[in-house]
C-alpha cells in the first residue's frame, strides 16, 4: 500500500478503483502490526473490516458519506460502543463502553472507518506519553524521543502511516504539542464546538476533542463532521457549524492583523532556534503584506500555575467515579467498601494521575479553597478578558507551540519541568479559544516543531483558512 499523506489522494485512488476501503483497512492493519512505536493499544480489526466492506458497497452505490475511505484512529479516552476504552489506565482494565461518544457516532455516520484505539498519557495527563499504563509511545521520527502527549499515540500513528488521521483530546496542549513533536497539523477547536459526550473527562471546562492530520484540509473536514451542538453535552455550542473544508480559501489575498506575544519570545525555556525560526515565519507574514505586531502578555508566567490549579481541581472530582465498585479494576485486596476504594485506586492509578488528584483535592479543600481555587477562577477570567482584548485589534495570535522539539524518553524527570513544557499551549484552553499547531519548523537537530496560531472563540473557519494559507506558503 502507498504511504498516503492526504485523504484527498486516498479518495482519488478509490475513485480510480486503485484501492478499496477493505484493502486500505487491511493495509493499515498490517502497518499497525508491523509498527514498533506502541501507538495502538488495540486494533478494532473485525468492526473496521466490516465497516470497510459496507462502505465499499456504498461507494459503488454512490451513497457513501463524506468520510468514506478515511481510516481513523481514536485516542483511548473516547468511547465506542462495544469496544474497550481505558484512558490508558489500569483502573479501566477490561472495561468496555456501553455507548458511543457523539464524535464516534458522527464519524460513523459519514462512513469513516475507526481502526482502533490509540495510546496516550493516562487520562490525558502528561506531555510525553510516558504516563500510559500500557507503555511509552516512541516518536516515529526518532525512536529515542517521545512523541509528545497526551495524544502521543494519535500523533505517532498518523505520522507513521498507521491511519490517515486520528482524534485526540486537548486539555492544555495534548493535541498541539504531539503534533509539533511529530510534524503534523494538530487542531484544538473552540471550547464547546465539539461535544465532549463520551470523552473520558480530565478537566471538563478545558477538554476538547480535535483531529491530528497531515494537512489542514483533512483537519477541516473532520472538524466539520464532529462539531455541533449535542443534546448530551450542555456545554456544546448552538453556534452554527460552517463547512470549514469549503472555506479554506476564504482568506486568500486578505491582509490580516496578527499579534505575536512578545513575552513568549523572551521566555527562558524557549529554544533559540525555535525562537529565530518562528520570528522568521513572522517576517515572512509581514512580507506578504500582513500587519504583524508584538503585543505584551505579562500574564504568561501565570498560565501554567493557573492551568494546573484549575485542571487538577476538576480532575480530582472527575476521576472519583473510578472507585473499583462498579466497573474497571478492583484490587484483589478489597474486602470492604473502604479497602475497595483505597486499594483499587492506589493500584489502578499511575503516579502522575495520583499526583494530580492529590493537588486537586488540596486546592479544593477547606481552608485552601479561596487561596487556590477561587483565586484560580479569577486569574482565568483575567486571562480570558486580556485575550479577548487582543482579538479586538487582531485577527490571530501567533506563537510557538512548544519551547523545544521532542525530548528524549526519560529526559524530563521533574514534574514541574514537565508542566512548564505546556507554557505556550495552556493559554488557549484557559481562554476557551481555538488553536492550531502547524508543522512549519525544521530544527537543525533533525526534529520538527510547530508554529501555533490562536483565534477568537468560534472563529474556527477563519483559523483553518489562515492555517491553510500559512502551509501553502511554506
Amino acid at each position: 500500500m502507498k504511504n498516503y499523506t492526504s485523504f484527498k489522494s486516498i479518495k482519488e485512488d478509490i475513485a480510480k478503483g486503485e484501492i478499496s476501503c477493505e484493502a486500505l483497512t487491511h493495509g493499515y492493519i498490517q502497518n499497525i502490526k508491523n509498527s514498533k512505536t506502541n501507538s495502538f493499544l488495540e486494533i478494532f480489526e473485525t468492526t473496521a473490516l466490516e465497516q470497510a466492506k459496507l462502505i465499499d458497497v456504498k461507494i459503488t452505490n454512490k451513497t457513501a458519506g463524506k468520510l468514506a475511505g478515511m481510516v481513523i484512529g481514536i485516542k483511548d479516552n473516547i468511547c465506542y460502543k462495544g469496544h474497550k476504552v481505558s484512558g490508558a489506565s489500569k483502573i479501566l482494565e477490561g472495561f468496555e463502553s456501553i455507548y458511543s461518544a457523539t464524535v464516534v457516532e458522527k464519524l460513523l455516520a459519514e462512513d469513516a472507518i475507526i481502526i482502533g484505539r490509540l495510546n496516550c498519557d493516562e487520562f490525558a495527563m502528561g506531555g510525553s506519553n510516558e504516563n500510559s499504563a500500557y507503555g511509552n509511545v516512541l516518536n516515529p521520527l526518532d525512536n529515542t524521543k517521545v512523541p509528545g502527549g497526551s495524544s502521543g499515540g494519535s500523533a505517532a500513528a498518523v505520522k507513521e502511516g498507521l491511519c490517515i488521521a486520528a482524534l485526540g483530546s486537548d486539555t492544555g496542549g495534548s493535541i498541539r504539542q504531539p503534533a509539533s513533536f511529530c510534524g503534523l497539523v494538530g487542531y484544538k477547536p473552540t471550547y464547546g464546538r465539539v461535544s465532549r459526550y463520551g470523552l473520558l473527562a480530565y478537566a471538563s471546562s478545558f477538554d476538547q476533542i480535535g483531529p491530528l492530520t497531515h494537512n489542514v484540509e483533512d483537519a477541516a473536514l473532520i472538524t466539520e463532521v464532529i462539531a455541533g451542538i449535542d443534546a448530551y453535552d450542555s456545554t456544546s455550542s448552538s453556534e452554527e457549524v460552517e463547512n470549514y473544508s469549503q472555506k479554506l480559501d476564504n482568506l486568500q489575498g486578505e491582509k490580516l492583523k496578527i499579534a505575536y506575544l512578545t513575552d513568549c519570545f523572551s521566555s527562558d525555556g524557549l529554544d533559540t532556534e525555535i525562537k529565530t525560526k518562528t520570528l522568521a515565519v513572522i517576517e515572512g507574514l509581514k512580507e506578504k503584506g500582513h500587519t504583524v505586531e508584538g503585543v505584551d502578555f505579562p500574564l504568561l508566567d501565570y498560565v501554567v500555575p493557573n492551568y494546573y490549579i484549575l485542571t487538577t481541581a476538576e480532575a480530582s472530582s472527575n476521576l472519583s467515579r473510578y472507585d473499583g465498585a462498579r466497573y474497571g479494576y478492583r484490587s484483589p485486596k478489597a474486602v470492604d467498601l473502604e479497602s475497595t476504594y483505597k486499594f483499587s485506586r492506589t493500584e489502578g492509578f499511575g503516579i502522575e494521575v495520583k499526583r494530580r488528584i492529590m493537588i486537586g483535592t488540596f486546592v479544593l479543600s477547606a481552608g485552601y479553597y479561596d487561596a487556590y481555587y477561587t483565586k484560580g477562577l479569577k486569574v482565568r477570567n483575567i486571562i480570558k478578558t486580556k485575550t479577548e482584548e487582543i482579538f479586538k485589534n487582531y485577527d490571530f495570535i501567533i506563537l510557538p507551540t512548544t519551547p523545544t522539539t521532542a525530548f528524549d524518553i526519560d529526559g524530563i524527570k521533574d514534574p514541574i519541568a514537565m508542566y512548564l513544557q505546556d507554557i505556550f499551549t495552556v493559554h488557549a484552553n484557559l481562554a476557551g479559544i481555538p488553536a492550531i499547531s502547524l508543522p512549519l519548523g525544521h530544527h537543525s537537530n533533525g526534529m520538527p516543531f510547530g508554529v501555533q496560531i490562536m483565534a477568537k472563540s468560534f472563529d474556527d473557519a477563519q483559523l483553518l483558512a489562515f492555517s491553510n494559507e500559512m502551509l501553502k506558503r511554506d
Partner: protein, 487 residues
Amino acid sequence: MNLKEVLEKYTPVIGLEIHAQLNTKSKAYSTDVNEFGSVPNTNVSPTSLGHPGTLPVFNSATLEYAVRLGLACKSNITKEMHFDRKNYFYADMPKGYQITQDKTPICTGGEILIKGDNGKERSIELTRIHMEEDSGKSIHDMDPFDTLIDLNRAGVPLVEIVTEPVLKSAKEAYNYLTEVRKLVRYLGICDGNMEEGSMRCDVNISIMSKDATEFGQRVEIKNMNSMRNVAKAIEFEIVRHAELIAKGEKIEQETRNFDASTNSTIGMRKKEDAHDYRYFPEPDLTKLVVTNEYIEQIKNSMPPLPNDLFKKYVNKFNLSEYDAYNLTDDKGIALYFEELITNTKNYKSAANWMMGSIKSYLNQNALTIESFPIKASTIASLITIIDDGAINNSVATQKIFPVLIENPNLAPLEIAKENNWIIQNDSNELEAVITAIFKANPEETERFKNGDKKLTGFFMGKIMKETKGAANPKTTAQLINKVINNI
C-alpha cells in the same frame, strides 16, 4: 429526668432539613424514568450509572417544581445560578460526587406557616431551598454477605428545604412536617411519603437554658422514616442533652442516627470525621437563568394552596376553623370541596356533606376522595333540592345518597321523584289524602273534631305513611285543621 422537667429549665432550638423527591417524569440530569418501585437497576442509562464520558443534562421540570415551591413559601427566587459538585465517596453514588447547589440555591428566605405550641399560627422562616440529585440505594438486608446497590434512584431530583433554627418543640417540628407534606402534595411536586423515603428529614437540635443568650452545642439526627419518629428523636435528644449538662459533661458536635426499635439516638460520626465536601461549580452544566416572565408564568399556573383555602373558608365562608382545617388537610378533599362550592353557595351545608356522609363513606370503604363515585356537581344539586324544600335532609342522606353511590349517574331529583320522596306541597292532593284518612277512621275523627288534640300525632303518622314521608309537616298540620273544620 423527664421531658417536662427539662422543658421547665431549657428551650430546645431546632432546625429541620427536609429532602423532598420531585415526581418529575424523568431524572434531574438524564432522560431516565423517575419511578418508584421499578425492578432494581432498570431505570439506568450510562449517565445514571456514572459511566466514563457521560455528562449531565439538566431537566428543566426540576426548576419548575422548585420555583413552584419557592413561590408557595414566598421565598426569593434566585435569578442567576449554577450547580455545584459535592464530592464524597459512597457505593450508591456512582460519580463520586453529587450535583447540588451550594453557593446559589434556587430559593432563599421564605416561610411556612404552622400551628405553634400555643395554638396560634406561627411563621417558620426558611433559610434556603436548593435543587440536587438523589443517590442510589444501598440494600444491606437482602443478601447475607453483600450490600446490594440499586441505582434507579440515582439522579432523581430533590429539593432540600432548610429552616432557620426556630422550632421549639417536637410538636412544632411535627406540625411543620405536616404542613410541608401538605404543601408539596398540593403543589403536586412530591408525594410526601416519609415511609417510602420520598420525603426525608434531618434534625439539627440543641438546647439552651431559659436565661441563656447563646445556643447550646448542636447535633444532627438522621434516619427517621416517619413524622412520629422525628418527634420521638427530638424528645429523646432534648432529655439526653439536659442529662449531659446536669452531669457536667460535654455535648459533642456529631451526627447521630435514630433507632426506631429503641426510640433513641446513637452517635454515628464525630465532627473530626466530618467530610470536606470540596464544593466547586459543576463545569459540565451551564449557568441557569430564571427570567421574570418565567416566574410569572409559573405564578399563573399555581394550584390553590392549603393556607389560602383555609383563610378563605374561615373569613369568607364563615366556616369554623375546625371545618376549614378538615377541609384543607387533604388536597383531594379540598379540590372536591372547591368544585362543590362552584355549584352551590350553601357553604355550611357543603362542608357538612364533606365531613359527614362523604367522609364516613370513604372511611368505611377505605377509599380516598379520588375514587369517590359521585360527582361534586351531583352532591351540589342534592344540596340545592334540600334547600328548595323538595326533599328533607334525612331523605337525602339516608335514601338518595346510597342510591347515588350505586348509580352515580342518576340525578338526585329524578331519584326522589321516582321513589315519591318529594315533599308534597300540593295542597289539593294532600287535602284529598287527609280527607280519605279521616273517612277511613270515623271514630278517631269524631274524637279529634271534639277537641282530642292528642290524636294529631296519630293522623300525622297515617299521612306520612301514606305519602311515604314526602308530605311537608308544616303544610300537613295546617291542612289537618282546615279539613277537620270542614267535616
